[in-house]
């Protein structure tokens, strides 16, 4: 006679070489039949020692390292790091640079969410969305290339402003992109929002209540999808975000579908910010501060004045000194709150750099989200978590 009440927990391994763990994440999954009992993420397969490396780099040299943390939106990381360093000095950023920073950061948000929707849908089985989303992402990367010369890791946001002004072509392309982008999001939503398979795979999966969110400290869409109305751009404003009008999407349900809706809406709102920034941006102006403590002296000065030459040489070869103390700056990155905590001992290099990576904290809630679901749903749950191993392992 078969006893149907036997329950036996077995442990299976998922990753690190697995197409839907979004990188090199290893999950140790305890399953009872098909039901997940416990999931334990094993991280560190991409530990590159960024924080340690930063202790041996000057403040400027750290910027390229930040690019490679959350490599889906490198410019948001640049922004967070530069804002943290600028807090040491209280530098005033020129108007035009402030707008360009907002433009670059919001474009990075859109690009990151596009990769998210592409891979998330691909994991669940909708291949078409992948091709459409990457078509738009290519356009954004082309614009980055026009403006910065690099497709992904451009390190374009620098301490005290941005590296150089954008060419005219960048704005023309961005204008036409923002004009049509809403209809592109409509297209993705047409494919997914009312799709029966999509709904069956996402509604009720990976539930997080608002107490859970607070207990685990998840941020970004994982928080707004559970009914908490919080966005650092509005609640702890940095840069010039207070000048734009946009809404913060919040959904009550707390499941994968709700987070999907939040992210789709976020893309539209980012597009709104981009449109407003394009209208408001001053036509000309400096893009780098002239504060001599952080900025390189102007080229004309270097050719004519000895002091400027020495200063330039000093900053390039040794770096500039930051005052003793510590700073923290968090920004609303596409994945959640990305924070840089810097300790300075009054030297040219940070004494310690701690990165508060949103994906790392969000991954902590994975077990809570996955318990009680089927093993096949784990793929959807990892996808909705939107993890990037670069910033988890650092």
């Amino acid at each position: 006679m078969i006893n149907n009440n036997i329950s036996e927990v077995i442990t299976v391994n998922m990753g690190p070489q697995h197409p839907s763990t979004h990188g090199v994440l290893r999950l140790v999954v305890d399953i009872d039949g098909e039901t997940i009992v416990n999931v334990e993420p094993d991280v560190g397969f991409l530990h590159r020692g960024t924080e340690k490396l930063a202790e041996n780099r000057t403040y400027h040299q750290v910027i390229p390292l930040t690019d490679r943390l959350d490599y889906l939106s490198p410019l948001s990381n640049n922004l967070a790091y530069c804002l943290a360093v600028e807090k040491f000095f209280d530098v005033k950023i020129p108007e035009r640079a402030e707008y360009l920073r907002v433009i670059l950061a919001e474009m990075a948000r859109v690009a990151s969410h596009l990769v998210w929707v592409a891979t998330h849908a691909l994991d669940i089985g909708a291949m078409t969305v992948f091709l459409y989303a990457f078509r738009e992402r290519e356009e954004i990367l082309d614009m980055f290339e026009v403006g910065t010369g690099q497709r992904m890791t451009s390190s374009w946001i620098r301490i005290g402003g941005i590296r150089a002004d954008m060419p005219e072509d960048f704005f023309v392309r961005l204008k036409s992109f923002t004009d049509k982008f809403d209809s592109c999001v409509d297209l993705y939503e047409n494919l997914l929002t009312n799709n029966r398979i999509w709904k069956m795979r996402t509604i009720g999966i990976g539930h997080l209540s608002d107490e859970d969110v607070q207990a685990y400290g998840t941020s970004g869409p994982l928080m707004r999808g559970s009914g908490i109305d919080f966005d650092l751009r509005r609640d702890e404003p940095y840069g010039i975000y207070d000048r734009f009008k946009w809404e913060i999407p919040v959904e009550e349900a707390g499941d994968t579908y709700a987070r999907y809706k939040v992210r789709m809406k976020e893309m539209r709102e980012a597009n709104k910010i981009l449109q407003q920034a394009l209208e408001q941006i001053p036509a000309t102006g400096e893009v780098m501060t002239d504060d001599p403590r952080v900025a390189l002296p102007a080229h004309e000065d270097v050719y004519e004045r000895m002091e400027a030459l020495i200063r330039r040489f000093y900053i390039v070869s040794k770096g500039f000194k930051a005052p003793k103390g510590e700073t923290y700056q968090g920004i609303e990155a596409p994945k959640g709150e990305l924070g840089f905590y810097l300790v300075s001992e009054g030297e040219e290099r940070p004494y310690r750099m701690k990165i508060r990576a949103p994906s790392y904290v969000n991954l902590g809630a994975l077990n809570k989200m996955a318990q009680g679901h089927m093993l096949a749903d784990l793929v959807a749950i990892v996808g909705t978590n939107d993890v990037v191993l670069g910033e988890i392992d650092r």
Partner: protein, 158 residues
């Protein structure tokens, strides 16, 4: 070891069979999906609509058992190196490896305690693609180079 040992000289029969087999292999390179870090995003972009690896017969496979090319795209850390090697050993012959990005070729900007300074420390590499990350065009360059290399291979008598 080929089908026949080196007992006979090259003749029109073996070379023709070789080139037919090579031609087929060249047109259906199946790489194993093995994205490690940032470079993997560019690899995905290559597979998407604009660059479209499919037109070269390249379809990403999720398992090493079905693939003959390994694209190592990203930083190989000390914790990951045994896995890279294991996946490589699981692939059936003939197999090729392309190291993508400066991390996989030489460690790149990460000269730290936890990174392997180039994936060639653990597995043999056929082609190196520079860049951080390389442009999709650079990927295609490596793949065309690999196709040329495949055409020169001797299959029947090794």
């Amino acid at each position: 070891m080929g089908l026949i040992d080196r007992k006979l000289p090259d003749n029109v029969l073996t070379t023709t069979v070789d080139s037919v087999i090579n031609y087929c292999r060249k047109g259906s390179i199946w790489p194993v999906t093995f994205g490690l870090a940032c470079c993997a995003i560019e690899m995905m972009a290559c597979g998407a609509a604009k660059y479209d690896l499919d037109r070269m017969g390249i379809i990403f496979r999720a398992t090493p058992r079905q693939s003959d090319l390994m694209l190592v795209a990203g930083t190989v850390t000390r914790k990951m190196a045994p896995v890279v090697r294991k996946v490589y050993l699981q692939m059936p012959e003939p197999k090729w490896v392309i190291a993508i990005g400066s991390c996989a070729t030489s460690g790149g900007i990460y000269n730290t305690y936890s990174t392997v300074q180039g994936v060639d420390e653990v597995i043999p590499v056929d082609f190196y693609v520079p860049g951080c990350p390389p442009r999709p065009e650079a990927f295609f360059d490596a793949i065309t180079a690999l196709q040329k290399k495949i055409m020169t291979e001797k299959v029947v008598r090794k």
